[in-house]
Symmetry: C2
Subunit: 498 residues, 2 copies
């Protein structure tokens, strides 16, 4: 029996409806759900995930995909969707449903143990569950299969084509080039950022961020911002893309840059083609490309001097008491302060990549067995000492700070750094291709930049891998030197480096 493209589309989009419904339930869970709702919400989410997974690994879906794989009557978009969906199908099929269920159960156990360990500030409470999770992830790597390193199989899940062989040189550059750069900054005259901890009334922070988000081009009729414990972006379709943030009356930086960061993610999701809803070409290219969009807006744009030429007088209008005596120059330097710190999510643009590198090295060692789970806390602290010169005083500000491992997300962290590096490389290219971009940013005119991102990145969905996309846009693969040039130029100004 042969199938037409519509049978494929209907099945894939039906599964997407279930997954997007799950995304609504997850959003609600983080944002509005009353506490007692958790238990039944858990089973509702499990049902949605199971139903979608069953559809996407069904014999029927396989027959449909196989019958369309060599269908030359399909146009290029259709062929790409079929090709990518078949890749996904093959990957999904490799995991037996009992394994998926075991992973999901271990994820709950790990998460609960992690919560308890954090409360008691004691990694040893979490270690046994992490050990079981690592056992499952090794099993998963075996099920997926790999050529060289078991970690490769997991990396591929978050970043198609990423391998240890590709990432080792990247993080070697992080270490070799950022270490002396950090030293250079450390020996310069330090900048002050204490005014960020003055009083910033919450509503005014909120209003200013919404104003900025609109200026960026975030369509608030196809999105909204809410509060949650950890900021995130979620999408139910390109026409409903939501972000969350958090607010701290005594820390201006907390809400603002996370709004802009999530806003960058949201612009990507809003820019995906609605015609490809639920299909690969309607989804983001990869996690690193997603992060490139958030980092580009957060760092390259909204931590630049020109940007604040426009926005700083407005900001002072919002907070005359706290910023009236702070010059634009001081404000700019303060927001770009570089200082080694213990918590990844609060790290600056430079030290951030040491946080990622440490997690990458530990994940790699856990996967090849050269590090045992009970030794992770010690190794973690040693590496912070070695690379950043500071040592966590306890597990809460050390190894217990991230939730990722509880969910079994091994291989996710590296995409954060890749995203920053892609951001620098894309932004460099944008400057070349958009005449007068610097001047536009100084006027808060972001239309051309957004248009360029839409055209260069958003419109393609998953059509290209990260590397293909990067080569298509910039003419070369990921090039760490773009990031180095970007930070060298920026911090020369911030720290008056020669």
């Amino acid at each position: 029996m042969t199938y037409d493209y519509n049978s494929y589309k209907e099945l894939a989009q039906t599964a997407a409806d279930l997954q997007n419904a799950a995304a609504v339930l997850e959003w609600d869970q983080e944002v509005y759900m009353p506490s007692k709702g958790a238990s039944f919400r858990g089973r509702q989410l499990a049902t949605l995930a199971k139903q979608a997974h069953e559809m996407l690994t069904s014999d029927k879906y396989e027959r449909i995909l196989k019958s369309l794989l060599d269908d030359k009557t399909l146009d290029e978009t259709q062929q790409n969707n079929i090709r990518l969906s078949y890749d996904d199908f093959e990957k999904n099929k490799k995991l037996p449903s009992e394994f998926v269920e075991a992973l999901s159960k271990q994820s709950s156990l790990s998460f609960n143990a992690w919560i308890k360990a954090r409360q008691q500030n004691d990694y040893s409470i979490y270690a046994p569950e992490l050990q079981k999770m690592i056992g499952l992830k090794r099993k998963q790597a075996d099920l997926y299969g790999y050529e060289k390193h078991p970690y490769d199989a997991l990396l591929d899940e978050y970043e198609k084509g990423a391998t240890v062989a590709m990432l080792d040189p990247v993080f070697k550059m992080v270490q070799e080039q950022l270490t002396p750069f950090l030293k250079k900054i450390a020996s310069a005259k330090q900048v002050d950022d204490t005014f960020f901890n003055r009083n910033y009334p919450k509503q005014a922070q909120w209003d200013f961020a919404i104003e900025v988000l609109k200026t960026m081009g975030y369509d608030m009729e196809a999105g909204r911002q809410d509060l949650s414990e950890h900021p995130f972006t979620t999408s139910f379709s390109p026409e409903d893309v939501r972000i969350t943030t958090r607010v701290d009356e005594n820390n201006f930086a907390s809400l603002f840059w996370s709004s802009v960061h999530e806003g960058g993610h949201a612009l990507y999701e809003q820019g995906l083609p609605t015609s490809e809803y639920g299909l690969p070409l309607g989804a983001a290219a990869s996690l690193s490309i997603h992060e490139s969009q958030s980092r580009l807006w957060e760092n390259c744009v909204s931590r630049s001097y020109g940007y604040w030429k426009h926005f700083y007088p407005k900001l002072q209008g919002y907070f005359p008491q706290s910023l009236g005596d702070v010059s634009l120059d001081s404000f700019y330097r303060g927001m770009n302060q570089v200082v080694p710190s213990l918590v990844r999510t609060e790290a600056d643009e430079v030290t951030y990549h040491f946080h990622v590198m440490i997690r990458y090295e530990i994940e790699k060692a856990l996967m090849d067995g050269s590090l045992s789970p009970e030794d992770v806390s010690g190794r973690w602290n040693d590496m912070y000492q070695e690379y950043l010169g500071i040592r966590p005083k306890d597990d809460k500000t050390g190894v217990l700070q991230d939730v990722h491992w509880t969910h079994g997300s091994f291989g996710y962290f590296p995409t954060y750094s890749l995203g920053s590096f892609y951001a620098a490389q894309f932004f460099e290219q944008a400057k070349k291709e958009i005449p007068g971009l610097d001047g536009q940013i100084e006027q808060a005119e972001f239309g051309n930049l957004l248009q360029w991102l839409r055209k260069s990145v958003h419109q393609y969905g998953r059509r290209y891998t990260s590397d293909e996309l990067c080569r298509k846009i910039t003419g070369r693969s990921l090039d760490f030197s773009s990031f180095m040039s970007y930070i060298e130029e920026k911090y020369a100004g911030v720290y008056d480096l020669k």
Copy 2:
């Protein structure tokens, strides 16, 4: 092949997960969804409904139910679930999926025409779509089958066992007994309620309602209140039951009594047994019993004099400027003002039932063909003139005021009146069985009343029909005289009737 009870439970609860997920999406749609999200949200909801419907009408489900129908090893709860689920299955099976789809499509068309007709204040724009909908509903009545009147088949959907033969006498009593009662009130000295339209700051209205809801026993850790255009209650499990309300700075009555009304619905949902999640014994008995819970709290409790002995001083504390010069006595009389009006949702406890009766008579006539759709507006206005002595000046405040018919909900309205009458009868019984209930209400101690409702109504889910439940609780079937006694006693005080 035989199946055990667990196969039934798993399938039914999986379908419930999908339906509850849909309820979350619908809640979000009314409360937080950005406007452009509507289109994809529509398809996500359609997918969830279709998946659940397919499960609940599947051959597998039929085999499971049939194999358990005569299983004497099941306990009573299990037998009741199987019996009721099989009834549901048979009913669902009677509608071919093409018919369900046609109904769903006509529902969208009718809704859009209704919106347009309201905007232009012209019933004739809506009439052709209503006509098509009525054609489908007659078809539906034929598919379901009925003994006497086609309307019976539709009534049964909302209120099991309700028929024209049962409802005609009820609405005859409405007409015969409430008409002279209304006249009596009309000839008494009228009460003033204009102070309700003074200024009531929104946040204070909100805070006061939340305080009251908590006092009623609404568990805010298993629920929450939000704003929406039309107040409603929704439940995703007994541990996540949400209500919505609306707020008007110049109308105290708008937020407060709808909060209490929805709070009554919510207490019912929170009181359903979690062990029976997704099964008939974990669902509400019927729409009329649901409405009995909201009306009992809204009218019997929170429009009583004793209730405000406790709450009025607090309320004056919230709104000293608007209520400082209004006595408890005036406040009480004002909230119980009886005046014929055009809009059902704003009607008082007495005239409300004429609004319902008019809709009931029109629906009945539309179903048996004695009234043609194009004549509905005229008939509507004539009946308002006849029964309430007022005539809508236009269609917007007349026949176009309710959304129900656009969704194909014919047979729904009567449950509103039944609910009020059950409420009066249940409350009368509660007073007999709970020693000192009046005194408790004067102290805002609602624990015993809630306990009584939990024990008498909530715990049973759908185990009993409305009539069975009413007889179990009060020893007799629905008795309009309970409602008459209740309003006669109340309005004797409000209007100083002899």
